[in-house]
């Protein structure tokens, strides 16, 4: 992954540069016109966040049951990347809402649970930073709770009365819109993989540094 990182980063950058062109060429939605094009970056950012949360929980489980440090590195890296994609989702969404709804934020079920999910992973990172010994296993449990929250975020529009657009928007995308959307999703998932790999590398190096300090003390 280390050797492939730079070429893949170039590919991801090219995809992010080309995505707006593809999105600009995509058909306009009949009610929101240009504003709807925020969806091409907003929804993929949540897809990337949910995937990162899945990886964080997977890494946590791997670490708890196999006691393998690599699982912990993956868990921490994916949790931090999930927070970053959450910031993207929580920034692009209100920009769309300000024009579409007339207000940037509504405390409706979908938005509130999404915000709580972001707070869950911020608390994960705080726990890792200030939790002391044992926080690695405790944070794995937090990641699992975060993963359990994901379906509530996704299906909130089906369970509660919310003003957020329904989940049927993506499956009902017309040809000409669909390609641009899935291209964006691919770009976001590639970026997510690259960021997790770099962040996990940082965690591995920190672990090596700790071992070196311990060896020096002995």
């Amino acid at each position: 992954m280390k050797k492939a990182f730079i070429p893949l980063l170039v590919v991801a950058t090219a995809m992010f540069a080309y995505a707006p062109i593809l999105i600009a060429q995509a058909k306009f939605e009949s009610t929101m016109f240009l504003l709807q094009k925020i969806m091409y970056f907003h929804v993929p950012s949540w897809f990337a966040m949910f995937t990162a949360i899945g990886l964080s929980a997977l890494g946590g489980v791997w670490f708890i049951f196999k006691n393998d440090k690599r699982g912990d590195w993956l868990a921490v890296a994916a949790a931090e990347v999930a927070v970053m994609f959450g910031v993207m989702g929580l920034t692009t969404g209100p920009l769309w809402a300000y024009k579409a709804w007339g207000v940037a934020w509504q405390w409706d079920a979908k938005l509130t649970i999404a915000f709580l999910l972001e707070l869950t992973f911020i608390s994960y990172l705080l726990l890792r930073k200030y939790g002391g010994p044992g926080s690695d296993k405790l944070s794995a449990a937090v990641a699992l709770f975060g993963l359990a929250t994901v379906p509530f975020v996704y299906y909130a529009v089906n369970i509660w009365r919310t003003i957020h657009p329904a989940n049927t928007v993506v499956p009902s995308l017309q040809p000409g819109m669909r390609e641009a959307f899935w291209f964006s999703v691919a770009a976001f998932l590639l970026l997510m993989s690259l960021l997790i790999s770099q962040r996990a590398r940082l965690e591995r190096m920190r672990s090596q540094l700790d071992e070196l300090y311990l060896a020096e003390d002995e």
Binding site: M32, I38, M88, L95, L195, Q198, L202
Partner: protein
């Protein structure tokens, strides 16, 4: 007695405040006005929101990537310092 006077004054003050707080309302529109017929000051263009959303994604991703690289650089520096110190100690 004093309590009653105070209560009366309090209720009167609240009532007056409510009365003055009610602003004269604009007459309600009796029909729908298409957005393109609104004056330019009341129209909100979409383009700045779309550009802001795309820029936000780029900026957040870039800042995060640079923060990872900066932290990696710091750990590498610490490792080099440690390696140098161990080398000096072994002499």
């Amino acid at each position: 007695m004093a309590k009653r006077v105070l209560a009366f004054l309090f209720v009167t003050a609240i009532s007056m405040a409510t009365l003055f707080a009610q602003q004269p309302q604009a007459p309600a529109r009796d029909q729908y006005i298409p957005i393109d017929q609104l004056p330019p000051s009341e129209q909100m263009p979409s383009a700045p929101f779309v550009v802001a959303a795309y820029s936000a994604v780029w900026i957040v991703a870039m800042l995060y990537l640079f923060s990872i690289w900066r932290r990696i650089g710091k750990v590498e520096q610490d490792m080099q310092v440690l390696a140098r110190r161990q080398k000096d100690a072994s002499r």
